[in-house]
């Protein structure tokens, strides 16, 4: 019954426990905790019943009855693999931090691991929440640890970067809060009973007029979080300033919460508005794909290349969701996991390269493959997955997404597919300029250490495994995605 509670709160409990143990032990305790959460998440996936729509493992407690807020958790085919992804990457980031002795200042290491734990609790909670207000709460809670992680442990210019990020996301969050409260109140005027439970709200949809403005509020919050063009202004600064293990989580997991929010909240609760704004969001998606890709191949900072490529990939995910068809949305669910799995090792590799070259500028790098064949091989796999080479799960994700979009809006699909070609270019450019060509004077190519390999290799193994059987996610996501789109489709069929 309360299984989900353990998954949500264990990371925070471990984070608090970090304050109670000696400083040297804190990283290892955090790592043990993260691995335990990963184990629980794997158990959750194993236990998951495929091909069934609806919530499983539900937890439902009364919380603030006066406001109709319930403490309601659950997983379904959309969230299950995102939870696994979060647990996996948190374990990876924690392991990477612990093994490399992050943060540099050991006096603050307890705080660092506590914040990581808090972040995991908030993120997993957001993926599990089945109550609108609970979701908003977890969504905003995510911001706090990351604010401090970047602000306190980041690189140069971190204060300005965090401020910018907070301003952006807070504006989105506040709009979302307003939207959530408005939804519940407007629905309660119809039904006479105030409830924030998603299940209740889904049964009593709002009138099209109110749906539209509330949808816009939610869309703003989610698009900022992803981020999408042109509201990605916080991304370059935050990506430059964040410590790399934190950046892994920021880029790989947190960005997914935005896309997830569309599937969990925006489409089921505001289906009419989703149809109304479909074109607008598709334009944003296509623009994100093209703009992100083009920016990625002109940048010289390796973090920003990965960052802008994330904008492009999340653009694909947006397109998949707003194809408003099960195949597109199912592909989007797969692609969320794919992107997380790919971008995480990418940032870890950037950290590993930085340790060898002392720079993050592409123009000053080169020839790193010379004495590091294992690193080169792992990086090559990641690069190929990044550019979604057919045969990778990323390709199947994009295949489903673009197929869904193609059947719905041919032009968008064809234009967006140009992004795939540019992706090939920027991903290879990143790989070549770092690993190939001549080794610059004074740089030494060094093989992966055992500790680095211990984190990187399992992640790459996950990429390869998923490439062999992307059906794992697609087949489990299908029923839930159809449920999430159920309210959208009839209106569309009527329109045709």
């Amino acid at each position: 019954m309360g299984f989900l509670n353990y998954v949500v709160w264990l990371p925070l409990a471990v984070g608090v426990a970090c304050f109670l143990v000696p400083r040297r032990v804190a990283p290892w305790l955090a790592l043990a905790g993260a691995l335990a959460v990963l184990g629980l998440a794997i158990g959750l996936v194993v236990d998951f019943e495929a091909g069934v729509a609806g919530i499983q493992h539900s937890v439902d407690e009364s919380w603030i009855p006066e406001l109709g807020v319930r403490y309601q958790l659950g997983v379904d085919g959309i969230s299950i693999f995102l939870i696994l992804l979060a647990a996996l990457l948190w374990a990876g980031a924690t392991a990477f931090s612990a093994l490399r002795g992050e943060p540099g200042d050991p006096a603050r290491s307890r705080l660092y691991y506590f914040l990581l734990g808090l972040g995991e609790t908030a993120t997993v909670g957001a993926f599990m929440a089945q109550d609108l207000l609970l979701f908003v709460l977890f969504f905003d809670l995510m911001l706090i640890p990351f604010f401090f992680l970047i602000g306190a442990f980041g690189g140069a210019n971190r204060i300005a970067a965090t401020t910018k990020m907070i301003v952006y996301t807070l504006v989105g969050s506040l709009l979302m809060l307003v939207g959530a409260i408005a939804t519940a109140i407007l629905v309660s005027q119809e039904t006479g009973e105030l409830s924030f439970a998603l299940a209740d709200l889904r049964e009593n949809l709002l009138a099209a007029g109110s749906q539209e403005w509330i949808f816009c509020f939610f869309a703003a919050a989610f698009l900022v979080k992803m981020p999408a063009f042109p509201i990605h202004g916080w991304l370059p600064d935050a990506y430059r300033a964040a410590p790399l293990p934190v950046l892994v989580l920021l880029s790989a997991v947190l960005s997914k919460v935005g896309a997830y929010g569309f599937l969990r909240i925006a489409l089921p609760l505001y289906p009419d508005a989703a149809v109304t704004f479909q074109e607008a969001i598709l334009v944003i998606g296509v623009a994100s794909v093209l703009y992100g890709s083009v920016m990625a191949f002109t940048q010289t900072n390796v973090r920003l290349i990965a960052g802008y490529s994330s904008i492009a990939q999340l653009g694909f995910i947006t397109l998949g969701i707003f194809a408003l068809r099960p195949d597109g949305a199912d592909g989007a669910v797969l692609h969320m996991v794919n992107h997380g799995l790919v971008v995480a090792p990418l940032f870890l590799i950037i950290a590993i390269l930085f340790a060898r070259t002392g720079t993050e500028d592409l123009r000053e790098m080169g020839g790193m493959a010379t004495r590091a064949p294992v690193l080169a091989a792992l990086f090559l796999v990641v690069t190929m997955a990044t550019l979604a080479i057919p045969g990778s799960a990323n390709f199947i994700g994009e295949f489903y997404i673009l197929n869904g979009l193609f059947q719905e809006k041919v032009v968008y699909a064809v234009v967006a597919s140009a992004g795939i070609v540019i992706a090939a270019f920027y991903a290879l450019r990143l790989y070549q300029r770092t690993m190939h060509n001549r080794l610059p004077e004074g740089m030494v190519s060094r093989e992966l250490s055992l500790r680095e390999a211990a984190v990187l290799a399992p992640l790459v193994a996950c990429i390869v495994a998923l490439a062999l059987w992307p059906g794992l996610i697609l087949e489990r996501g299908e029923a839930s995605v159809e449920e999430s789109l159920a309210a959208v489709e009839p209106t569309q069929v009527a329109e045709r």
């Binding site: 042109p230 002109t298 057919p390 199947i396 699909a413 060509n437 059906g471 087949e475």
Partner: protein, 669 residues
């Protein structure tokens, strides 16, 4: 074992070889990696023969066997199986691919012996063959695209194999990106098929296509044209061919593999495999044929002008692939595939011989510097001439029968298709000239310095330098270092070349008009439903075509002899002087690279730089500074009340209390 089990084995051996070498490379001593790699491909060849025998055991109409290992993805109405299709066409391709690849692997065990990346090379090489076999055996469009892209990846890895060379890495990237563009076109074609047929499985698509599409309807023409995009990118057809000559940056065995067995023939295979669709879309088929014709002529003219030995052969590949594309597009399926097979033999041979010559030249590739190797390298010279003879379609060689069969078919279809006959013969004339430009420049004439030294038994050593830029090579990561290997001194190279030499000479005898029909009969299992497959020129017409071909071939060789042997290159020099504009145009490869650069690459870079310099700063950042401004302004207003005087706070508190009390009083009264 049935045919499909053999099919899976064909895939399993190269993949296993690649993984084994990749994982165990540190533990493999000496040339073990090469032995493992060669054995793996040899076993795949054996399994292909097993597949062939099993298939021949079946009745002719049951020679299409589909098999799936697992459900790759099955959701939201798209069902993708990890499946293969074993039929005469795929078996034919497997035999050619694995057979020629085995020999290339064998050659490489010696040729690459002193390279530091020996194990890496064989791991890539095995993966390349695996990808090509996956492409050929795939039973649905998704796995076709997967094999297609893996081939692109493997070619990237091998072209930029010497990754310290800037030119090599750039060339690899170019090959990959152009191929991805082709992949995307194929993916969109798959979307169209899913839309109208709801499936990606070959057999279901072919079965359903005839009912779903009328002849030359818009969708089917679009599908076929999009597939052509993929085919042209992979097969280096105009205008997507620019990567192919640059791909010569890779080691010579890689060039042999790309040009003979894997990769560039994929486009020809694709058109042949999709024949039910192309016969529904004759417009698209005609477009393909015309592009093939253009390519074969353009490439032949360029091959007359460039001076890099490997690039001459590369352009000749483009030109020969042009013949095959014309063949399979106009319906001469068995002729096109026959030419694919003979071309694999003589092109692999030519590259191997060229590799041997280049090794003797201490890695210099300019034909103008070469000459007179006939005494220094008798074996290499002889086999080079054999390859050139087959390429020039000298009467009796393999190229002679296969090339002319395509032209005979075009004549038989008549009408517009006569253009292909005429164009084909013009191309054949040019082919004969450049084939023997290679032959005569290398073999005949005064021995160059390297050849003279080699006659004394001394192989020239030189610091390797990049033939494109002239800068010294970085031999630290592997480069066929100061050690070079020539066929005369390494038995694996000699053996591989000798086998291919036999193939190039006698491979054509399997299909002599009026005498033997081995390929025709075998491929009938795949192409039987096609009406075009049963169009057959009469034996007399074929022999007439062969006679014309023989005359043209001999004329071309005579011209080459006149130009480069009898008059010692004077003629060509005077021609260059007389027609500088034409020479410059050809030497610069019709300026295709420059056009691509100006139309695609530069605009993209410019947009990117504009975005990051202007848009990002003013618009995107403007948004955030606007938000910050609003928040800050509101803050200034609120801050005014925070005076820090405790008593002021108290006053505010009391004032608030009073106001509340007043409010309730008013409300209650």
């Amino acid at each position: 074992m049935d045919a499909s089990t053999f099919g899976w084995l064909v895939l399993a051996f190269p993949l296993a070889g690649s993984l084994l070498i990749a994982l165990a490379w540190r533990a493999l001593p000496g040339r073990t990696a090469g032995v493992i790699g060669t054995t793996a491909i040899g076993l795949a060849f054996a399994a292909s023969i097993g597949m062939l025998l099993e298939l021949l055991g079946e009745p002719a109409e049951e020679r299409q066997i589909a098999s799936a290992l697992w459900q790759y993805a099955d959701a939201a109405g798209i069902d993708i199986e990890a499946g293969i299709l074993v039929d005469p066409l795929s078996v034919f391709m497997c035999l050619v691919v694995t057979g020629v690849s085995t020999l290339i692997h064998l050659y490489s065990t010696a040729y690459m012996a002193s390279d530091r990346g020996y194990a890496r090379f064989f791991s890539y090489l095995n993966f390349f063959v695996f990808s090509m076999l996956l492409l050929v055996l795939a039973g649905n469009f998704v796995f076709l695209i997967i094999g297609w892209a893996f081939v692109g990846f493997a070619s990237y890895a091998l072209i930029s194999f010497w990754y310290r060379r800037n030119t090599a890495t750039t060339a690899g990237m170019k090959a990959f990106v152009i191929n991805v563009a082709g992949d995307v076109a194929m993916v969109i074609a798959a979307f169209l098929l899913i839309r109208d047929l709801g499936t990606v499985d070959y057999l279901e698509v072919f079965a359903g296509a005839e009912e779903a599409f009328s002849v030359n309807s818009g969708t089917i023409v679009a599908v076929c044209c999009l597939l052509l995009g993929g085919a042209f990118a992979k097969s280096a057809q105009v205008p997507l061919h620019t990567w192919l000559p640059d791909a010569m940056e890779g080691p010579t065995p890689v060039s042999a593999l790309i040009h003979a067995a894997t990769m560039v023939t994929a486009g020809v295979y694709l058109i042949a495999r999709m024949f039910p669709l192309y016969e529904l879309a004759p417009t698209a088929a005609d477009i393909a044929a015309f592009v093939g014709l253009a390519t074969l002529l353009i490439a032949a003219t360029i091959a007359l002008a460039v001076t890099d030995l490997k690039r001459i052969i590369a352009y000749s590949t483009m030109s020969q692939i042009g013949y095959m594309v014309v063949g399979v597009s106009i319906g001469a399926y068995s002729a096109g595939l026959f030419h694919l097979m003979t071309h694999a033999f003589f092109k692999a041979l030519l590259f191997m011989a060229a590799g041997s010559v280049i090794a003797a030249m201490a890695n210099r590739q300019n034909v103008d510097l070469m000459g007179g190797f006939r005494r220094a390298m008798p074996l290499t010279s002889a086999l080079l001439v054999v390859g050139a003879l087959a390429l020039a379609a000298f009467p009796g060689t393999s190229g002679f029968f296969s090339k002319d069969e395509i032209m005979a078919f075009a004549t038989e279809r008549g009408g517009m298709y006569l253009i292909f006959t005429i164009g084909g013969y013009v191309g054949a004339f040019l082919t004969a000239i450049y084939a023997f430009r290679i032959g005569f420049r290398v073999v005949a004439g005064e021995p160059c310095r390297e050849a003279r030294e080699l006659e004394q038994g001394h192989l020239v050593h030189a610091e390797p330098e990049n033939p494109a830029t002239g800068e010294a090579e970085d031999t630290d990561v592997g480069f066929p270092g100061p050690e070079h290997h020539i066929a005369e001194r390494a038995w694996p190279m000699a053996a591989a070349m000798a086998v291919l030499g036999l193939g190039a000479l006698f491979g054509g005898l399997v299909q002599v008009p009026g005498v033997t029909h081995v390929i025709d009969e075998f491929l009938a299992g795949t192409f039987d439903p096609s009406p075009l497959f049963h169009v057959e020129p009469s034996v007399g017409a074929e022999w007439l075509g062969l006679a014309i071909g023989a005359v043209i071939s001999l004329a071309g060789i005579a011209v080459a002899w006149y130009g480069w042997v009898a008059r010692r290159n004077d003629v060509t020099l005077r021609l260059i002087d007389r027609l500088p504009a034409v020479h410059r145009f050809l030497f610069n490869k019709w300026y295709f690279d420059e056009i691509q650069d100006a139309l695609v690459y530069r605009p993209a870079i410019a947009i990117g730089q504009f975005s990051s310099a202007v848009f990002e700063r003013y618009v995107v950042d403007g948004l955030v500074s606007g938000t910050v401004g609003v928040v800050r302004g509101a803050g200034v207003v609120v801050r005014g009340s925070q005076s820090g005087f405790v008593r002021a706070y108290a006053l505010l508190l009391l004032g608030g209390l009073l106001a509340l009390a007043l409010y309730f009083l008013i409300v209650s009264s």
